[in-house]
């Protein structure tokens, strides 16, 4: 029963990731050759300004594009399977907004701790998880796929209103810190932070591979899966945990990025034509990374004329695609 088509597409898309990274590398304001790129790592010279540029700017940006793209797509897929709703995603369900709110609260509280990496990841993660719990409770009461979406959007508006209130009453220093964060960018991370971010990301990915069987079963609905012996509440908690980990981490470092988590999982299913999450997890990681790398490449191309925030650009591509899915699904 093995299908050769799916592994073939996956291998192709895996190969497209470094290719997209190369495109990203060559679209920047300062073009960098591939040999410079490698020598910056294997033959680093602290006096070479190109090397420093690559290590401090180019590489972290590519690294974060791959992580954010893959991570958001993966957490979107987890949410869509959990809620059995192709329109779910970390952004529309208010997972990002929850993270934003708690980050705003902690940053503006003025405690030194929350300015650190661990403090930032921690508060984003808690915020994401709380929002997830709220959405899970809501989803339990409403069955309609569209209504859940509306509640998610309302939740998003509500939290952003709270954030605005916080902004208006906070001091200049903390306001600056938060505003910078909330603009959303792939360029806010330093080289030294990458190991920690990479580690948390890898943890999330590995954990989701342990959920392949429950995820596959959830496709036929919670009730049927439960009657086949799936421990629903445990699985729900785990999926929500991993989603918050990934979406929280990415929101903490890149700010809110819309539509990747909603559009890419649908695109992956359409391309792979399967519901087996063994393949879907890999597909989402690869397609998500490619998508965000290419989006960011285009932003770089126009960076001399206008500074486009990444969030705006993913929405420009993602929103029409979601409308397309809506029209296909809910005829």
């Amino acid at each position: 029963m093995t299908n050769k088509r799916i592994p073939f597409i996956l291998v192709c898309s895996l190969l497209l990731v470094p290719l997209s990274a190369f495109i990203h590398l060559s679209t920047g304001e300062i073009t960098v050759s591939l040999s410079d790129f490698f020598s910056a790592f294997f033959d680093f010279n602290a006096d070479n300004s190109t090397h420093i540029l690559i290590r401090e700017f180019k590489f972290p940006r590519i690294f974060m594009a791959i992580l954010a793209g893959g991570g958001l797509a993966l957490s979107g897929m987890l949410l869509q399977t959990l809620f059995n709703n192709p329109l779910a995603g970390p952004y529309v369900l208010g997972i990002n907004s929850g993270a934003s709110l708690i980050v705003a609260l902690t940053l503006m509280s003025g405690f030194e701790f929350f300015g650190t990496d661990i403090g930032l990841i921690g508060s984003a993660l808690i915020g994401a998880f709380l929002a997830g719990i709220i959405m899970m409770a809501v989803a339990h009461r409403i069955r309609s796929q569209i209504s859940l979406l509306l509640v998610g959007l309302m939740f998003g508006s509500f939290t952003s209103a709270l954030v605005s209130i916080l902004e208006s009453i906070s001091g200049a220093e903390s306001l600056k810190a938060f505003t910078l964060w909330s603009m959303g960018s792939l360029q806010q991370v330093e080289f030294s932070q990458l190991p920690l971010i990479g580690f948390v990301f890898i943890c999330g990915v590995i954990l989701s591979f342990f959920l392949i069987k429950p995820l596959n079963m959830l496709v036929i609905g919670e009730r049927s899966a439960g009657l086949l012996g799936l421990k629903i509440s445990q699985v729900r908690f785990l999926i929500m945990g991993i989603t918050s980990l990934l979406a929280g981490l990415i929101t903490a470092y890149c700010g809110p990025i819309a539509f990747v988590g909603l559009a890419v999982p649908n695109l992956t299913r359409i391309l792979l034509r399967t519901q087996n999450h063994r393949w879907l997890i890999l597909g989402n990681l690869f397609f998500g990374a490619i998508f965000l790398l290419l989006c960011d490449s285009i932003i770089q191309l126009f960076s001399k004329q206008i500074a486009l925030p990444i969030n705006a650009f993913t929405s420009i591509i993602g929103a029409p695609f979601v409308v397309f899915i809506l029209m296909r699904k809910l005829k």
Partner: protein, 233 residues
């Protein structure tokens, strides 16, 4: 085999009382009754979705409270009244879910699992559907696949909630005949709830007639007797 002893079924107030009832292996029972009388509650109580209010329930001579929750899918398989299919979910992958109570944490199928699936596929003659998508086959084919999935679970007991509701006459006949054959051949206890009394009589199923607060087990050949019993208050 299913045995009921002094059982009260319902949510907070008892809806059905069953002093004593034994359902044998090798037979198909037709669960009939008016809408809202408690057929679904009855089925849901057996599969443990609704806790029993009191009494003892034995599944294959094993008291239900002694069966671990994780072991229950190896004893009872349940077929919902309607499976709409899922986009991109192949029939084979759907059938393979029937093995999930037996597979490891990653859900990988052993050669034994594959063999079980292949045997059922052969018995039900659905090999041509395997590669197809569950959302693209007909209602009748889908219902057949749902039954196949339950058989692949290799349980001594199978419950079906109105399996014929969305099928045409020929497919109904085919399905009920198939269930009778399976029950006899594989010595399974099968209960199906239905509003289709004619087909149940034609296939001489034994009836479980639910009326106000009780269940009557009876063999009938006259539709009027069933209707009279259903009307009792």
């Amino acid at each position: 085999m299913i045995r009921f002893e002094q059982i009260e079924i319902g949510y907070s107030k008892p809806l059905i009382l069953i002093p004593s009832l034994t359902l044998d292996a090798g037979k198909v029972y037709a669960l009939v009754g008016r809408n809202g009388i408690g057929k679904s509650t009855f089925l849901n109580s057996i599969i443990g979705q609704i806790p029993l209010l009191s009494g003892n329930l034995f599944l294959n001579e094993q008291a239900v409270q002694n069966i671990l929750k994780i072991e229950l899918p190896k004893v009872i398989a349940y077929v919902e009244s309607r499976f709409d299919g899922v986009e991109y979910l192949s029939v084979f992958d759907y059938l393979a879910f029937g093995r999930s109570p037996y597979t490891n944490n990653f859900g990988s199928l052993s050669s034994d699992d594959i063999q079980v699936i292949q045997e059922v596929v052969k018995d039900l003659n659905i090999a041509h559907l395997l590669e197809k998508c569950t959302s693209e086959i007909s209602d009748g084919e889908r219902q057949l696949c749902a039954v196949a999935r339950a058989l692949i679970q290799t349980t001594p007991i199978i419950l079906l909630d109105e399996p014929t509701a969305f099928l045409d006459y020929l497919n109904r006949q085919k399905l009920v005949q198939l269930l009778v054959l399976i029950a006899e051949k594989q010595h399974k206890t099968i209960i199906l709830s239905s509003h289709d009394i004619d087909i149940c009589i034609e296939n001489s199923l034994e009836f479980l007639i639910v009326s106000e607060k009780k269940i009557l087990k009876t063999k009938v050949s006259d539709k009027q007797i069933v209707i009279k019993e259903m009307e009792k208050d």
